[in-house]
Symmetry: C2
Subunit: 612 residues, 2 copies
């Protein structure tokens, strides 16, 4: 299949045909048409060990943060949400998306941002003295959101996600990572206010040790100790191993058990946490509040539009050698459906998990250790043979089976006996989970890498590093814009205006596409930024690869220059390097960098761009 010749394109469309809203459902139709032929192979391909390992890993990586967020919501919404809502929401999302979505690699579940949304709405409800009708209000937000989701998906609006570059996705990854770290600290602080100091300090010990052990085990595959199989096994099962160990640790007789750390609260299986039926009586909400829910639902749709689709991009990012086509429109439609159902049932609305999405693809990737033998020649001409290990992503088991089995696992967890097992988990473990996942999102982030580049001593940097070809102040400016975006988002998240943060996050895209090409040269942007997902199979669902604005701008200037038959103005000098020859060498270097990038494996960093 030649994905670059996909029929879903808007190029060359004229008249009314160029307006996306006027051809409703076109994207969804092609999404399904493109993916349906792979449905059988999606199942068949799953009968491998990797799918099993991914199932176990994702069960923990999905469920543990979800439980942690539900604790957060429970605390801040007067106890409306509880473990049963969390499990039902996660199970619903997993079953629907594993069976029906076009992108089964994208793990859908409960995120920190929906938690933020839900408790900010509760804060607003408290201010308006309508906490009695909080569930109904939330249901209406979800209903409106479902409608706006459907409008967006029928209107082919997901196409704009093709404009997502590392500039905005790194900033978003950083934002999410910081929110996770804050949540982890909040969870620990809560131990002190809700329990004894001994429980609080023990919780800190366990959370830190849990973080260190999971991090250490997940790092193993990058080393050369033990055998490749053992390394992989220990890292595949880092979460179960550490969860079992540290959950057991706090139950050891003696001071540990006596400290009596807080554990996960559970309620009767299959019943809502508070005394209500599963269906929220949304018809009881006064009309005034129904319409107040509308603008909030639009903010929620904006959030999901960005968050879910960025997750999908992350799960299909350029470092993974994917072969099966994406389907953003259809999946966003599905997300509207789950939002609708979730709203009616009064459960937290699931959507794509930004830090976890690439973890799923990563677990399904067949990596191979490659031995690189190089000869090293020093100044005196002495040659030494060097052996290095690089990790190469051979292929990805693109299956929906792991996602589905994980969903079944969550349904199983909803039963009484397993709920009791969940109850033995100390709450501080969730703080540890936040630290692992949050730090993963910060450590491998392109922003972190740029900061490290800036504070490093220049003379020790390999000349191959492309950032060396960009002026320091330009890197600083690029970073500053990202930091402003992250900073404003984090700041607003701590206020009652928290639900407005999607606007800030999304505004980074026009900033990148409209203003930044004027402040940076094409070369600078090409070094510092790239499309988060750039394979044709992914971009075909978004109407094909977009032309980067800096390229268009450079071309337009070139056109102007040749038309006027003279050299361009002085400030165009930087573009001299864009002569065909230079461009050629650029490309081959870019390919080389891409290889380097693919060889440097990154376990749980979502938007790592190994390039920088």
């Amino acid at each position: 299949m030649d994905a670059s010749r996909d029929p879903y394109t808007w190029r060359g469309a004229t008249g009314w045909k160029q307006y996306r809203m006027l051809r409703p459902g076109r994207g969804m139709y092609y999404d399904v048409k493109r993916r349906l032929p792979f449905y059988w192979s999606d199942i068949r391909d799953g009968f491998t060990y990797r799918a099993f390992a991914a199932t176990v890993r994702m069960y923990f990586v999905n469920l543990l943060p979800a439980l942690a967020f539900i604790l957060d919501m429970e605390r801040k919404t007067g106890g409306f949400f509880g473990v049963n809502e969390c499990l039902l929401s996660s199970a619903l999302a997993a079953i629907v998306f594993s069976l029906l979505s076009c992108q089964p690699l994208t793990i859908v579940g409960i995120t920190g941002l929906i938690s933020l949304f839900n408790y900010t709405i509760y804060d607003i409800a408290e201010k308006q003295h309508i906490t009695d009708q909080y569930p109904e209000f939330l249901a209406w937000v979800a209903i409106w959101a479902a409608i706006t989701h459907w409008i967006a998906s029928f209107g082919n609006l997901c196409d704009y996600m093709r404009f997502i570059t590392d500039f905005s996705s790194n900033a978003f990854g950083m934002y999410v990572g910081i929110i996770y770290m804050i949540k982890g600290v909040e969870e620990l602080v809560d131990q002190f206010t809700s329990s004894t100091p001994a429980a609080g300090f023990l919780s800190c010990v366990v959370a830190l040790c849990y973080w260190a052990t999971v991090y250490g085990l997940e790092l193993l595959p990058r080393t050369v100790v033990l055998t490749p199989t053992l390394r992989k096994l220990l890292s595949d099962y880092a979460y179960p191993i550490c969860t079992l160990f540290w959950a057991g640790f706090v139950h050891i007789t003696g001071p540990l058990e006596r400290a009596d750390v807080m554990r996960l609260p559970i309620s009767r299986a299959f019943y809502p946490t508070v005394d209500r039926s599963w269906v929220v009586p949304f018809w009881n909400l006064p009309v005034k509040w129904v319409f107040v829910a509308l603008p909030i639902s639009i903010l929620l749709t904006l959030l999901f539009y960005y968050d879910h689709n960025v997750s999908s991009l992350g799960a299909q990012a350029r470092q993974y050698p994917l072969k099966k086509p994406a389907g953003f429109h259809w999946d966003f439609f599905l997300l509207g459906c789950t939002s609708f159902v979730g709203g009616i049932l009064g459960i937290p609305l699931p959507n794509g998990l930004v830090p976890q999405a690439p973890v799923h693809t990563d677990s399904l990737t067949q990596y191979k250790d490659r031995l690189d033998i190089t000869r090293e020649i020093d100044e005196h001409g002495n040659t030494t043979e060097r052996r290095q290990k690089s990790i190469v992503a051979k292929s990805v088991v693109e299956t929906r089976l792991s996602h589905f089995l994980m969903g079944l696992g969550i349904i199983g967890t909803m039963t009484g006996p397993l709920l009791i097992v969940l109850h033995t988990i100390p709450r501080c473990l969730f703080a540890g989970v936040f630290f692992v996942v949050g730090w993963g999102s910060i450590e491998g982030n392109g922003m972190t890498q740029k900061v490290i580049f800036l504070i490093s001593e220049r003379r020790f940097i390999d000349p191959i590093n492309p950032l060396l070809r960009v002026a320091r102040r330009k890197i600083m400016l690029f970073l500053l814009l990202q930091i402003l975006g992250v900073g404003f988002s984090v700041a607003i998240s701590q206020t009652i205006g928290a639900i407005g943060f999607p606007v800030i996050v999304i505004s980074l895209i026009p900033l990148r596409w409209v203003l930044m090409p004027r402040w940076f040269t094409r070369r600078e942007l090409e070094v510092m930024d790239a499309l988060t997902a750039d394979s044709d199979v992914v971009l075909s669902s978004l109407g094909g690869k977009p032309e980067m604005p800096e390229v268009r701008l450079a071309r337009e200037r070139d056109g102007l220059r040749s038309a006027s038959g003279e050299e361009g103005p002085l400030d165009d000098k930087e573009n001299d390097a864009d002569s065909p020859d230079e461009r050629e060498s650029d490309t081959s270097e870019a390919q080389r960098l891409k290889q380097l990038e693919q060889s440097g494996r990154n376990t749980n960093a979502p938007f790592t761009s190994g390039k920088h």
Copy 2:
């Protein structure tokens, strides 16, 4: 000065002249004669920034573990020892050794092993119901030990320290590291038994964080971030920075302060901790017990003989480019004097600090970052320029000033106001200190490096690694012998027979010199082992560089072979490589390795052999 032609040698001595004991004081005489001309430069050279940084660093690295050990002793000797005894002992040692010793780089103070010794003697005294006379008994052990020290130093017995290779010094470093880690855990456990669970768990948090932060800061100079000056500054003052921060941390108002962790107990300045005069009435001990003290004192002398001299070797190990001569005999005589005084005063006897000794030399070493530019050629012939940083030890500020100023600092700490400052330090910080110092001794240890080599995947090991030329089972055998030595020492340290452990440690030397050359070929031993200190200026004090037994054995066989005029037996095949040509290339490779070794800086690992 050509140190290899030093007049102090026993080579060629015949008749009664070859017996060391029959020419008393010869070693001490030459030690002083050799070092005295450098006395003025020892002071003058100290007027540099490095000496200041070393003073601050050693003040903390010496005092904090000493305080930690005194807490250990206090707990286990019925409260006889306290902070004042610790300070007096450390100050005495620092002043005497900085002013009078031949090897002012060797930091002398309170070690974990004297703590082990003191409380094991207390255990014995308890069993014999003579705890009333514990101080007197201890005084007699010290008096006898002083006498045996003097016999050993006049009898030139320190000469045998030239036989110390990495085989035994690595094993001893590992043993000390493990004892330190155990002490750290014991200190934390004590928080639970002597204080509240909250204090206990907070102590764990602080100890772990202290460890992580000091470790992180000390690692900085190996990275390329920040500027060279800032990196060095932060690592030079890692202990003061972290001690201030974490000591302040537990005083933050709120749950931290309320947890009320145990702090360092102090008593009236300049007075002994228990109600007694500074002079122990040793004349009151019944004669029977005076003579029981004799065998114990011999064990103590064995311990100090090994421990102190290995510290001196560590402080003058082969990775430091030292120029000034050593003086083992004279220093061991001095150690007898401080033991005598220490015994009379009833303070813990100071001796050389194994993990800290090389830290002092390291702080005084002028390191320089070197930029290594190499070209890397991969299989396809592509060339990449690589820039790496290596750290080169330029020179060592060989001064006695830092040691002396540190001693003055400790005397200052003995005054009332500063004792009160000491009282604010939480005891858990000492657990952190144990972890830092103990782990430093384990992490960089040659044994650890051999284990990592063995569990690494062979194909990724650089072919330059000399261990590749030794059969795996031979490396395992070598390690097994070391592990047995460490294992037995650690095991016996937990029993009442603890005072016997020096016998096990010292028995590793004849094992290495008599038995191992029969089990390993010369080549194998040359790859896996080396003299801990090999420079002529150090070895001249020990009667010159010894001929390694494996070399003598190989020579003898060669001699036999050429005498019989035929090829040696089959099992000699391995020695074929010892033909002159091969030996030549061996040497140049050995030199290369030595360069590699010197460039790989190791901050606080005492007996790291970068070679492996």
